[in-house]
Amino acid sequence: AQTVTQSQPEMSVQEAETVTLSCTYDTSESDYYLFWYKQPPSRQMILVIRQEAYKQQNATENRFSVNFQKAAKSFSLKISDSQLGDAAMYFCAYRGTIIIQGAQKLVFGQGTRLTINP
């Protein structure tokens, strides 16, 4: 079974600085997707960024980028120019691609609570 590990329960960063959140995963599959979701106090899970395992190029969405190391099974999220609105729980998630029973579910890490200091 696939597992996702986020080793940083909490992180903090000064506003306008850069912070990196770590995520590692374990899988025997070669093709899969990785996601970072943000969950503010409103509880709404918001998709931040998505990476396809067969693409070597790291995904980028504005101030958010990932460092995807497939061999190391590592998928970290870098937030540049941190803003107060970035404060939230961040979850790393894995999804397989084989369209069979069970392959569509997301497997989540335990989350990292990010605090932005003004």
Binding site: D31, Y33, F35, Y37, S42, R43, Q44, M45, I46, L47, R50, E52, F91, R95, T97, I99, Q101, G102, Q104, K105, L106, V107, F108, G109, Q110, G111
Partner: protein
């Protein structure tokens, strides 16, 4: 367009009562998922629907939990004889369900408190 909606937003119930949680997916999304978020267990998958059928129910924790989906749209998660350990946030997500690029979009969740 409208996102995934869930009702009620919060539910407080007494131990032993039955509860129903509702999810309205994004229009046109054929896939629907239920997850549970609790302090001790993190985010856990419960059940996955494709259309009205549920090919993966592997995450349902006991036979007290059931879910159905009608008309390929609205889904209801029912918990019978609730226990205190059922207290959690129940999240629903939907996706197009068409191909390998599928991305799940989440609702705001229902916070269930069992007294």
């Amino acid at each position: 367009g409208a996102g995934v909606s869930q009702s009620p937003s919060n539910k407080v119930t007494e131990k032993g009562k039955d509860v129903e949680l509702r999810c309205d997916p994004i229009s046109g999304h054929t896939a629907l998922y239920w997850y549970r978020q609790s302090l001790g267990q993190g985010l856990e998958f419960l059940i996955y629907f494709q259309g009205n059928s549920a090919p993966d129910k592997s995450g349902l924790p006991s036979d007290r939990f059931s879910a159905e989906r009608t008309g390929g749209s609205v889904s209801t998660l029912t918990i019978q004889r609730t226990q205190q350990e059922d207290s959690a946030v129940y999240l629903c997500a939907s996706s197009l369900g068409r191909d390998r690029t599928d991305t799940q979009y989440f609702g705001p969740g229902t916070r269930l408190t069992v007294l």
